[in-house]
């Protein structure tokens, strides 16, 4: 644990959307090579997997060996001694599914918080705005056992103030007195709203529509995440989601983000131009499922994610179970450097999962 990971430190300290492709290739490439060596030295099962792959040291971002994300369900993978484990994250596995187990030490947990702060404040600014949490207060009530949803909400509360829950505990109905009081108190000011995609659609936007209520929070930001699986079943597109969010609540900026419990802190946030952005300390590679070669712009394949954050477990390069497509690099009209991409959905055979899918709707 004592060797210096200089490139990792350097890339984590760089503003998240400042590196162009050449700079990022050098710096992130070096950081990922350091991490590959670090995990091989500190995690015997990881060293075994590398030896079996017989790849030699990686010399570029796309050459870093990747582990299938479901390996974290099947194996206990960590690069720290048991007594250095500070927190264990588990994925939102529902009944019958084995959750991933991700072991964090303090250094990794802190790197996660800092990375998330750097990305989030790039989108909503450093000032903490009045925050509307599109969920019910019960989701964070049991402090000893948060769901993935509760943990996500708590993480985002850092970026807001005067936190107000929009939904009732009992039935997930709109808490209109709370929403009205919040709206009156912060009238005319841009607010920050956060929730999980399915909850925001089903219990907030759809409920406002049904009740014929329009809220007015001009210039506000809504950040949401958790996956589209359930909304695809209801045939709700991202465009439709955004249009309703703006019309019903005045959310002028709606940012979905893509991320996973196996790489907390590396979030890929959607900009105002509808593209998901890779920050400098992380990247996305789209691979051909037939030969695993990296694909170029516009070619659909399987999403691989790499991140300089994971130090306590060998999760710096993971093959996801999602399909995606690259939409550009260093050329987004929003001005942020790095690759942009779209997520197209799950690989058909993959088990169903998604943070916001953990709340199963009762029959309407």
């Amino acid at each position: 644990m004592s060797e210096a990971l200089e490139a990792r430190d350097a890339v984590l300290a760089t503003p998240p959307f400042a590196l162009n492709a050449a700079e990022k290739g050098r710096l992130l490439g070096a950081a990922l090579a350091e991490l590959t060596a670090h995990h091989a030295a500190h995690c015997a099962p990881y060293a075994g997997i590398l030896a079996a792959q017989d790849g030699g040291p990686p010399i570029g971002i796309t050459q870093v060996p990747f582990l299938p994300v479901r390996l974290f369900k099947e194996l206990d993978l960590r690069s720290i001694p048991a007594d250095a484990v500070f927190k264990t994250l588990t994925s939102s596995g529902t009944t019958g599914q084995v959750p991933s187990r991700i072991y964090l030490d303090q250094a990794t947990a802190q790197a996660q918080s800092r990375a998330l702060a750097a990305i989030t404040t790039d989108f909503i600014g450093k000032d903490r705005r009045p925050m509307l949490i599109i969920d019910h207060p019960g989701v964070v009530r049991d402090r000893t056992s948060f769901s993935a949803r509760g943990a996500g909400i708590l993480g985002m509360m850092t970026y807001g103030r005067a936190h107000t829950y929009a939904l009732n505990d009992e039935d997930m109905g709109l808490n209109l007195p709370a929403i009205t009081e919040f709206a009156e108190k912060h009238a005319g000011k841009p607010i920050f709203a956060f929730g999980f995609t399915f909850m925001v659609w089903k219990y907030f936007l759809s409920a406002l529509e049904r009740a014929g209520i329009t809220l007015d929070f001009p210039g506000s930001v809504l950040i949401h995440s958790g996956g589209w699986k359930k909304l695809e079943d209801e045939a709700v597109s991202n465009e439709q989601f955004k249009a309703v969010a703006q019309a019903r609540a005045g959310f002028d900026h709606v940012h979905n983000f893509y991320g996973m419990v196996e790489q907390v802190g590396s979030v890929f946030m959607e900009c105002d131009h509808g593209r998901l952005h890779a920050p400098g300390f992380a990247d996305v590679i789209i691979r051909d499922p037939l030969d695993w070669k990296p694909l170029g712009l516009g070619q659909e394949g399987i999403i691989q994610v790499v991140s300089a954050i994971p130090l306590s477990y060998p999760g710096h390069s993971l093959l996801t179970e999602d399909r995606g497509v690259l939409t550009g690099e260093d050329d987004c009209p929003c001005g942020r450097m790095g690759k942009t991409f779209r997520v197209l959905g799950r690989i058909p055979a993959a088990e169903m999962r998604g943070c916001s899918d953990t709340h199963t709707a009762r029959a309407a």
Binding site: F86, K87, Q106, A109, Q110, S113, R114, A117, T120, T121, K126, D127, R128, V140, R143, L154, G155, M157, T158, Y159, R161, H163
Partner: protein, 76 residues
């Protein structure tokens, strides 16, 4: 105005005597992420300041909180 130790003790529901400079975030079960947000609100109310997101992430110990408050001309 309450002292920094009093704000910590009330927010985390711990004994004021255990509020020492070296006390670190997440090192005791009482200072978890929920209590951290309670602490933020209490600090803002008590010292009449507005902390930004970077401050909250950087509040890793009592000493560090004192250092951040100094930025806002609060001698705590």
């Amino acid at each position: 105005m309450k002292s920094l130790a009093e704000v910590f003790a009330e927010s985390l529901m711990i004994d004021a005597a255990s509020v020492v400079d070296s006390l670190a975030y997440q090192s005791i079960k009482e200072w978890d992420s929920v209590a951290h947000m309670v602490l933020v609100t209490a600090l803002e109310d008590n010292f009449d300041i507005m902390l930004d997101a970077d401050d909250i992430v950087a509040m890793s110990s009592v000493a560090k909180v004192r250092e951040i408050l100094a930025k806002y001309d609060v001698a705590a």
